[in-house]
């Protein structure tokens, strides 16, 4: 068995989710190869070669792969992937965008967001917003899978010394092109990788009040997240959303502030090690999953909390 892992990167740096994906590949067993498809991404290929347990890095460097357009990358992955038993990618917006296209090209099903590996063909994945865990078995010749990063502890980023092999194949479908991007700038840790996450909901009342959470987060070295209500109300941008349709996080500590705890929000954070809820409504469903609950006005509790930590 040989497993192909698609590296998650921005042409400059390898994203941490790749390490969790390699960990899932290691659980399946067999040689692990990593594909770095991008443009000018040699630093990424070198970083991938250093990942513990990686046997080979395939580097497809071409202008057509610069922006991870699925119309161009999926044919490449499908072509290379024919020789592998499994194709894995992190369940990031890129991974989820590309892999179903790869699976259809190979005429196989795809398994989304696995949280555990039972055997080489059997996996567990959450369904119904995490209200149930399905154990699924695939009979496909090539198993195409996205991996929920929070389900697997990352492998070491150092310690490997894989050979880097250039892939010449260039697929340019010519039916899509990149126009521009607006990426949120933040000095705080990345939401999905942070050890502590402080999230605000509708109870924050407005975007300006998030400054209280930012102050607390900075003191804790935490990332700041939000519920859908806070995003829809325009308090914060959508890339901060935690939940079924936003980001899935599982930090050591998750502090939910002014968040009622709808099913869809819980789907994104209930695997956190310790959950703290601060809410003035003692009936809020968030208290049912919180390890520590504080019934209080957040505008009094958050500044006090910031002072004490």
């Amino acid at each position: 068995m040989t497993i192909l892992v698609i590296a998650e990167h921005d042409n400059n740096a390898l994203a941490p989710a790749t390490l969790n994906t390699v960990a899932a590949a290691a659980k399946i067993g067999g040689d692990v190869h990593v594909l770095v498809a991008g443009q000018g991404a040699s630093a990424v290929a070198e970083a991938a070669a250093k990942i513990a347990g990686v046997a080979k890095v395939l580097s497809a460097d071409n202008a057509a792969y610069a922006h991870q357009l699925p119309e161009n990358i999926a044919p490449l992955v499908a072509e290379l992937g024919k020789g592998y038993s499994h194709i894995l990618a992190a369940a990031t917006s890129n991974g989820k965008n590309i892999l179903p296209r790869v699976a259809a090209a190979l005429d196989v099903d795809q398994i989304s967001e696995i949280i555990s590996v039972e055997s080489a063909d059997t996996f567990k994945r959450p369904i119904y917003a995490g209200n149930a865990i399905a154990t699924v078995q695939s009979t496909a010749s090539v198993k195409v899978i996205t991996v929920r990063a929070t389900g697997f502890d990352p492998v070491a980023a150092e310690g490997g010394s894989a050979a880097i092999e250039a892939v010449g194949a260039a697929h340019d479908a010519g039916i899509s092109s990149f126009v521009n991007e607006e990426l949120a700038k933040s000095d705080r840790p990345e939401l999905t990788a942070a050890k502590i996450v402080v999230s605000g909901g509708r109870g924050m009342q407005n975007g300006d009040n998030f400054k209280h959470l930012y102050a607390l987060a900075d003191k804790l070295g935490a990332a700041v997240g939000a519920s859908r209500a806070a995003v829809d109300a325009g308090f914060v941008p959508n890339d901060m959303q935690v939940g079924q349709t936003g980001k899935i996080v599982a930090p050591q500590l998750y502090i939910a502030v002014g968040i009622s705890g709808a099913i869809q929000h819980l789907a994104g954070m209930k695997d956190s090690k310790v959950i703290v809820a601060i809410n003035k409504d003692e009936e809020a469903p968030i208290f049912q999953v919180a390890d520590y609950g504080l019934v209080a006005d957040l505008f009094e509790a958050i500044p006090e909390l910031e002072k004490l930590v």
């Binding site: 090209a105 209200n131 695939s138 949120a184 019934v295």
Partner: protein, 249 residues
């Protein structure tokens, strides 16, 4: 421009469903069903394009049991011109649905297919991408903004780090994210009107598509239950517990 909008009948998003005791699936007896929320957003976008004069016809399609007709009526009340039900009592997985949709696209030749980004029951997030692959057409997934520009489409997508805009050649496949629009409510007169609109019924056999599930669900179980937590009286106690009991700060 002709727009095809695939919709799925799922459990209402407010309902917390549980696995059956024998682990064979979810307990869906007597549970309220509804149109998948993302599909409602997809339908709204198609109707808005029609209202702006950019689309000539909006077709809703659903793959599933005969009960999906009810969901298609909702889509018709939201503004679809006509509907197609690809009727099957078998379990349909995303690849099978994508193949059925491809067969219908081959017949109807829409310029645009708008799907929801994922169904809230299986949480797969695959069908749109698979359909795009089978048709060899570009995909604009997780769309939060759409603009028709001649023979092309400008799509703003929600990605992990923020937003990204792509230019796609038509015909194209789009999957709707939450923030694409706010779907309208169905009104009583529109529900009455929807009853008169046609629903065409096809079967996978007529379309010559093999829908055999490739993925076997061995078991569906409850997620691990979190032990009950405690309420703390004040911030000082909370900080003390986080420091000394949970040791997370």
């Amino acid at each position: 421009m002709k727009i095809l909008v695939p919709i799925k009948r799922v459990v209402d998003f407010n309902i917390k469903v549980r696995p059956k005791a024998d682990g064979s699936g979810m307990d869906l007896d007597n549970v309220k069903m509804a149109i998948n929320p993302f599909d409602e957003i997809a339908m709204e976008e198609a109707v808005r394009l029609k209202e702006q004069g950019k689309a000539s016809e909006v077709i809703a399609v659903s793959c599933g049991t005969t009960l999906s007709q009810e969901t298609l009526r909702t889509a018709l009340a939201l503004g679809a011109d006509r509907a197609v039900l690809i009727e099957s009592s078998e379990e349909l997985q995303p690849l099978a649905v994508a193949k059925l949709l491809k067969a219908l696209v081959d017949i109807e030749q829409p310029d645009l297919v708008i799907l929801g980004k994922q169904a809230i029951d299986d949480d797969c997030n695959q069908t749109g991408q698979m359909l795009a692959a089978l048709l060899d057409r570009p995909q604009g997934t997780y769309a939060s903004k759409l603009a028709v520009d001649g023979e092309q489409l400008l799509v703003t997508r929600e990605v992990d780090g923020g937003l990204e805009t792509l230019r796609l050649a038509l015909p194209a496949i789009i999957t709707a994210d939450l923030r694409l629009n706010e779907p309208r409510y169905v009104t009583l007169p529109n529900i009455m009107k929807a009853k008169k609109k046609p629903i065409q019924i096809l079967t996978p056999a007529e379309l010559n598509i093999d829908i055999t599930p490739r993925l076997r669900t061995l078991k569906v179980s409850e997620p691990p239950v979190r032990p009950a937590g405690v309420k703390v009286p004040d911030v000082a106690t909370l900080v003390a517990k986080l420091k000394h009991e949970a040791k997370v700060i």
